[in-house]
Structures are given as C-alpha cells and as structure tokens.
C-alpha cells in the first residue's frame, strides 16, 4: 500500500507577487540593487520597490531593447539591475541585446520575466511565450531559474542578487497553491525533492510542480509511488538529483509549461542519455502556439495538466 501524500498548502497567490515582495526585500538588503521596468510596473508588482526606492527605479517606457542594454551598462560601476517585463518581451524581443550585452559580456543583470507560458491566458499566443527557457538556457554564462510558487519566487528573487552573473528568472500570472515554506533556503542549482517515491520520478518546474504533486496523489491512489522533484534551476542543472532518483525509479517524466523542444525535459534527457539511459516521457507543449482561453482551459487543452502527468507516468512505467 502506497502511503497517502500530504503536502501542506499555505495559501494561494501568483508567483509574480512573490517577485514583487522579493524585489522590495532585496532592495532593502542590498543598496546596489536597481530595477528597470518597461511600462508594466503594476503587472510585475514592482510598485512597492518603486515607492520605497524611487531613485533606484528606472521606468524606461515601452522600449525593451533599450532597457536590456541599459541594464548591462548599469552594471559598470557596481549596480545590480533587475529588469521587469513579460517573459515574451524579456527574451524573444530582445534576444540579441541579451546575447551581446549581457550574456557574452558577462554582466550582472537579473532578467525577471512574468506572465510566462500558457497561463497568461486570455491575451493569447502573441504573449504566451513557450520558447523562453530554451532561448535562455542556450546562452553561455546564463543561469535559468523557474520557481514553483509565491514563496519560492520571493526567495529566488532575493537569492539571485548574491549570484554574480546573468540570471533569467521566470514566473507567471495566475494564482497557484503555495507549498514551499516561507523560511526555506533557496539554493541556485540545487533541486528540491518534494515527495519521495520509488516507482517513477517526476521532474517539474514552475506551475507544473503543483500539477505533479496532484498527479503523485492520484498515482498513490493507484498504488504507484512517484518521486516529485522541483527542478527550479534549469541551468545549471542538478544532475546528481536526477541520477540519484532515476537509479532508484528507473524511469522519468518531465513536466513544464514550455515547448517540449528546448525545455527542462531536453536538459534532463541530455543528462540521462549520457549517464544512465532511462525511459522518459515529456509533459509540455508539443510544437504549437497557444491561444486565448482561461489558464485552466489552456493547461487541459495543451496537455500540461495534472491528468497529463498521470498518463505520462503510467506510460513510462510500462516502458521500464
């Protein structure tokens, strides 16, 4: 009998609000932190930082390319710039600015990207970027972080100030369950084991971590013991956590609110194919743009919902 899974839910909030609170706190802790925003202060929840530190807040208007290169320039003289806009405008729109002025030039810029993925919802595919993790992880020198809930987003926002170098921090718009403890110690590159299990490993990031917890609960009712790992850092990837878990479970599901091409699953596949070839199933968007709809409707339609994680787990177990 597989034991029931009890994960304490501490509330429900959007991860972008975790960023807003984290930014204010890191601003208080570190006087070198400055923030830039491209006309989305309210959406990014950057108002509290702006109110507290108006001289360290830079409203750049709807000009993301200028914002990214400016942020790179601001590091010269010791500032730690946090840029804020939607994930689409934080990556695809400004890829070359990030590539040349931030990643290649190794500048200490924190690219903070909200409204990532399908759960942006009704705005539709123009805004629902599903390629950003891939674009950012391909850049040398870039650290890529996708926290799972409000508390972790806040903790990550604070932690990245202590990391010297470019960081991409991805979070979202909808309200989602909070299950990371408020006093948890966020470590870049160190995965969190949320549930211990023995039959299948589920490695997830962002909003799919909660979906994977729900999936593990459903699997437990079927007598299947799923291990759930919150891979909040896509790069550098915690290879040890992956290999330790699959040595035990012998199969893996990856789950993310991102294109299957280029996402977390790709990174995990590289690790296991090199070290311990193991059956893997992918939960992610399969080479498709999104569309308008509610976040829940979209998660279901594009197969990145709880049931999709369950189904992938059942499939991959059969392939062992």
């Amino acid at each position: 009998m597989t034991k029931a899974i009890n994960i304490e839910v501490l509330g429900k909030k959007d991860t972008r609000s975790g960023f807003g609170e984290g930014l204010l706190e890191v601003g208080k802790k570190n006087k070198h932190v400055v923030a830039l925003c491209a006309d989305l202060t309210g959406s990014l929840k950057m108002n509290a930082f702006e109110d507290e530190f108006p001289e360290r807040f830079f409203q750049v208007g709807i000009a993301e390319a200028n914002m990214m290169s400016m942020a790179a320039g601001m590091t010269i003289g010791g500032k730690i710039p946090y840029t804020g806009t939607f994930a689409n405008f934080s990556t695809g729109r400004v890829y070359d600015q990030i590539r040349q002025s931030i990643a290649y030039s190794k500048k200490n810029v924190k690219i903070c990207a909200s409204h990532a993925g399908l759960t942006l919802g009704e705005d539709g595919a123009t805004h629902q970027i599903l390629e950003d993790i891939g674009m950012m992880k391909m850049l040398p020198n870039m650290t890529v972080i996708v926290p799972c809930d409000f508390n972790q987003t806040k903790q990550a926002t604070i932690a990245i100030a202590e990391h010297e170098g470019p960081v991409y921090l991805r979070f979202g718009r909808p309200s989602v369950p909070i299950f990371v403890k408020p006093d948890a110690n966020f470590q870049i590159g160190k995965a969190d084991q949320i549930i211990e299990g023995s039959d299948v490993t589920i490695i997830a990031c962002g909003h799919l971590v909660w979906k994977s917890i729900e999936a593990a609960q459903i699997l437990a009712e079927k007598g299947i013991s799923a291990e759930v790992i919150n891979m909040h850092t896509i790069k550098p990837l915690d290879e040890k956590a992956i290999l330790t878990s699959i040595a035990k479970t012998k199969c893996v599901v990856t789950a993310e609110e991102h294109m299957i091409n280029g996402g977390l699953g790709d990174s995990v596949a590289q690790v296991i194919s090199r070290n311990n070839p193991t059956p893997q199933e992918y939960v992610g968007v399969d080479d498709s743009f999104g569309e308008s709809g509610t976040p829940d409707e979209l998660m279901t339609k594009y197969h990145i919902d709880t049931q999709d994680v369950v189904d992938a787990a059942l499939r991959v177990i059969k392939r062992k």
Binding site: S69, M70, G73, G78, K79
Partner: protein
C-alpha cells in the same frame, strides 16, 4: 596635448590599422581610418582615464563605449598606444585565442573594453545605463560613445535617444561618425537619414558638429560638449569624416568598409602614413 603630437599619434594609429587588417586579410579599415583622429584626441587629450590598472567599473573615470564595434582596429590601436595593453598584442588581431577579437569583447578580459559590441545599435543604451550608474554613485565623470551613421538605422538608437532626453541624461556625449557610407553603398542610396541634425534636435538633444579630421576642431568641440554637460540635456556631436582617411585609394568610396588591403596595397598605404612611434 599639442596638435602636432596628436597628429603623430594618429599617423601611427593609421599604420597600425592597415597593418592589422592586412595581416589577417579581414577587418574594417575604412571606418577605422576615419575615426583615428577622433579616438586619438579622446584618449590622448580629452578623456580622464586610467589605462593601468584597468578598472571595469571605471569609477571617477570618463568611460568610452564603441557602439560600432566593427571599427575595432582603431579602438585596439588607440588603447594599446595609450597603455591599456602592450602594442605587440596588436599582432593577435582576429587570430585564434587572441584577446583582440574581430569585434570588441570583454570575454577574454582585454583591458579598455567594457562591453561587447558588433551587433549594432546597442551602445547608446549601454552608455546611458553607465551614465545612470554614475549619477547614482555621485560620479561626475562623462560617458562617451561612438556610433556609425549607418548604425542610426537601427531602431534601438531612437529608443535610447527618447529615454536620454526624457530622463535628462546630461552626462553622456554621443558622437556620430558621419562618413555617409555603409557596406552596401552610400548612406543616401541605401537608407537616407534625412536631416540628421534636425532629427537629434527633435529628439531633445543638444547637437554639435565637428570636422573629424581637424585636430583643433576636435579639441575645441569636445571641450564645448563637455562644458554643456550637467545642463539637463544629452549631447550628440555629428562628426564629419571621410571613410578611409589617410590612404588615398580608400577614400571616396564605401569599398574599404570591410575589406583588407593585400601586400601591395598595404605597401602603398604605409608609404602614405609616417611611422612616428614605431610599428608594433
């Protein structure tokens, strides 16, 4: 520094440029030769800067950003001649493992370079960012940047131009290398910029003009620009230059924008440029 001395340095810089690009049969001599006088005046007369030890943060130093990174030969020569790194390092230009990449980068820690450039249109934003940090730090130094005229076809330049005027970035002096030529031909034919001076005025900048090959005009205009800083407006200098200046067969055409002289052409170029400080 005396004008005569500056001319001597610029002549050597021009020799360095043609020798560097010829040695590897690649690189951009045209714009480099056109900006040799300007960069010589900047690094040997106008800027307050510290070549050694080089500080990335450049606190209390004037900063310079080369936005049109393809004219790296002139940048590298001037940096070396000013003492940022040994002139012998110019031998490494564009060679495997060298700090002197085809376009400037910070990747291999070349002293004097604070930002990669090459993909055009980004340097004005970078300079404005650095200028904002100087303001936050209470640092009264000036941030300079150089742009090609063709580069102004990039949209990001105008994002930055709007920002600088709106936010009163008055510690930036941008210079435009207005040689009227780009890779595909004359700027007027490829994509005219219209009335460039009026454009910058309309964007809220103070606009100066100077002759990029007249040392005295360079010195006095740069002094004037410096005197205008701190007055709530960004400053741009439209600098008239001749692409290929100093080498007769490279002038009056866009054809030497991005091609290097062969051995025979190099000899002809070097015969026109006095060796004043010793070749590297």
């Amino acid at each position: 520094m005396e004008t005569q001395e500056l001319k001597k340095i610029a002549s050597q810089v021009r020799r360095d440029i043609v020798r560097m690009v010829s040695a590897v049969s690649s690189g951009h001599p045209g714009g480099s030769l056109g900006c040799a006088d300007f960069l010589t005046v900047m690094y040997f007369d106008k800027m307050n800067h510290c070549p050694s030890p080089f500080s990335m943060d450049g606190k209390n130093e004037d900063l310079f950003f080369l936005s049109n990174g393809h004219i790296s030969p002139v940048f590298y020569s001037v940096l070396a001649r000013a003492g940022y790194f040994p002139v012998a390092d110019l031998n490494g230009f564009r060679k495997l493992g060298s700090k002197l990449q085809g376009h400037p980068s910070t990747d291999k820690n070349l002293p004097g370079v604070r930002m990669a450039s090459g993909s055009l249109g980004q340097g004005l934003s970078v300079a404005i960012g650095a200028a904002e940090t100087k303001k936050l730090n209470g640092d009264k130094s000036i941030v300079y940047c150089l742009h090609g005229d063709g580069e102004l076809q990039e949209g990001q330049i105008w994002e930055a131009a709007i920002y600088a005027a709106a936010k009163k970035i008055d510690n930036v002096i941008a210079t435009i290398d207005y040689n009227g030529r780009q890779i595909d031909g004359d700027l007027e034919d490829v994509m005219s910029l219209g009335n460039l001076s009026q454009k910058w005025h309309a964007f809220g900048w103070d606009v100066l003009e100077m002759d990029g090959h007249d040392m005295d005009d360079l010195k006095s205009t740069l002094d004037k620009a410096k005197s205008m800083t701190g007055n709530g407006k960004p400053i741009v200098i439209i600098m008239k230059t001749e692409m290929g200046q100093g080498v007769d067969y490279m002038m009056g055409t866009h054809k030497w924008h991005g091609s290097a002289p062969n051995a025979e052409q190099l000899e002809s170029a070097l015969n026109q440029l006095e060796e004043t400080l010793g070749d590297y």
